[in-house]
Amino acid sequence: MTNRPSAIRQFAVLFVKDLRQESHTRDMLTSMGLYSLLVLVIFGAALSQSTIKSNIIQISGGLVWAMLVFTSLLGLNRSFAAEKEDAGLDGILLIPLDRSVIYLAKTASNLVFLLIVEVLACPLFYFFFLADYPLTTSLWLVVPPLFFVSLGIAGVGTLLATITSGTRGKDVLLAILFIPVIFPLLFAVVSATSVAVMGSEQLLSVYVPALALAAGYDVIMISLSWLLYGFVVTN
């Protein structure tokens, strides 16, 4: 038998490689962080003339997700830019390892970056838009949807970003493919987040099924992407 490293070891090496690369360049975190800040500025301008101040709590769930979807779109595009520029992915493909390990490593690193940006951007959103309003006791319930969506976005986004990274007009194409595919997840968590922020009586009747569907979407899409990834990176 050869002394080939185990799949877990391969995963760890690829995952740490992405983290180390990011800690050197800070390419993704800087661009995603700044981009989410800019989206917040645009929200500020877009809402400045409206008199819906009392409704901001109602729409904040949707606004947070609008910000995070666009930010993650940018991040997913960036995550393969480096691999393409230095032919990094081609190098990885020369190694005799299971394609699904590459997928899982890339998904994990994208998930980590997305979570870091969310930890920075969501308090900023609160600071800019919600600081004047009393908080509901159920606010902590926004955390599980954040995690489930990040998982789904990283999961299916990594597959789609791999597809589009080798095409013409890749940035636009990723948006065209990614947004409709992510729609069910978005719909589910916007309602979960909204009821958590509002703290309405129907909390459990909406929140629990929404979260269950988000989890179901994650399971379906990640296993499908994991199975199909090999077809996307051949050669």
């Binding site: 069910p184 719909f187 909204s194 129907q202």
Partner: protein
């Protein structure tokens, strides 16, 4: 690449099926307007069958849309299913013929999705009084349209035919799985803004069931016929291209 294959049974069936389908759908529509009773809001034994929902307490002439709208919508789902099946076949067998079939199936799906949306608009306008609303059915169907558009944009963006086929197959499968999920999600998670009223009782009186089934089977045959004619056209097109490039050499 594309050898001249013997005319298969399917191809010979295409023209007759298209003709029968056209006759059946026409017959179904005529019956829908003549023999099928008008739906009486809540008075009718089976109010759930009004295309989507929101039955008013009046004679719903606009419900006639149901005999066109629902068969067309069902066919669009079936066609999208074939996109996924042929995509899967391509990924396992690596035969470019499957890629072509997946592409043509998606084209058919797109045509039927557009027809569903166009007929749905009439209903929305006359029964709900708006051109568009973010109602769960409408929203998910719109997502379906965006997914098929994405499929063709993806195809156009990849030059290498082998890679294009692989990417399109993968996306076709993802899109087909995504469609029912998004249908499920919007129905199970009503938002606070849109209370959703769905009725689940079913069962159609015979004078309504017959034209509906005629239109449904007719529409399936029309789709099948269109699919085969488009496929044949595409195969011939590729053969001409191959001949042209041979002549140039």
């Amino acid at each position: 690449m594309y050898k001249k294959t013997a005319t298969s049974l399917m191809e010979r069936l295409a023209l007759p099926l298209l003709a029968i389908g056209a006759l059946l759908t026409t017959g179904g529509f005529i019956m829908a307007f003549t023999t099928a009773p008008l739906v009486l809001g809540a008075g009718v034994p089976t109010p759930a069958l009004i295309g989507d929902q929101m039955v008013a307490n009046k004679l719903l002439f606009s419900q006639k849309i149901f005999y066109f709208h629902v068969p067309v919508a069902l066919v669009s789902f079936i066609a999208l299913g074939f996109t996924a099946i042929y995509g899967l076949l391509f990924l396992t067998r690596h035969d470019p013929a499957f890629d072509l079939r997946a592409k043509v199936a998606t084209e058919i799906a797109m045509v039927f999705i557009l027809m569903t949306m166009a007929s749905g608009e009439m209903w929305t306008r006359y029964e709900w009084g708006v051109w568009w609303t973010w109602e769960p059915r409408l929203t998910t169907y719109f997502i379906l349209l965006l997914l098929t558009i994405g499929y063709f944009v993806l195809r156009a963006a990849v030059e290498d035919p082998e890679r294009r086929a692989r990417y399109a197959a993968v996306f076709g499968i993802i899109a087909f799985v995504d469609a029912p999920v998004s249908l499920l999600v919007t129905r199970l998670v009503p938002t606070s803004i849109h209370p959703v009223v769905f009725r689940s009782d079913s069962g159609l009186p015979a004078p309504m069931l017959l034209p509906f089934l005629l239109a449904l089977f007719g529409m399936c045959m029309v789709a099948f016929g269109l699919y085969h004619f488009r496929l044949r056209e595409q195969v011939l097109h590729q053969r001409i291209d191959a001949l042209k490039s041979q002549l140039e050499d």
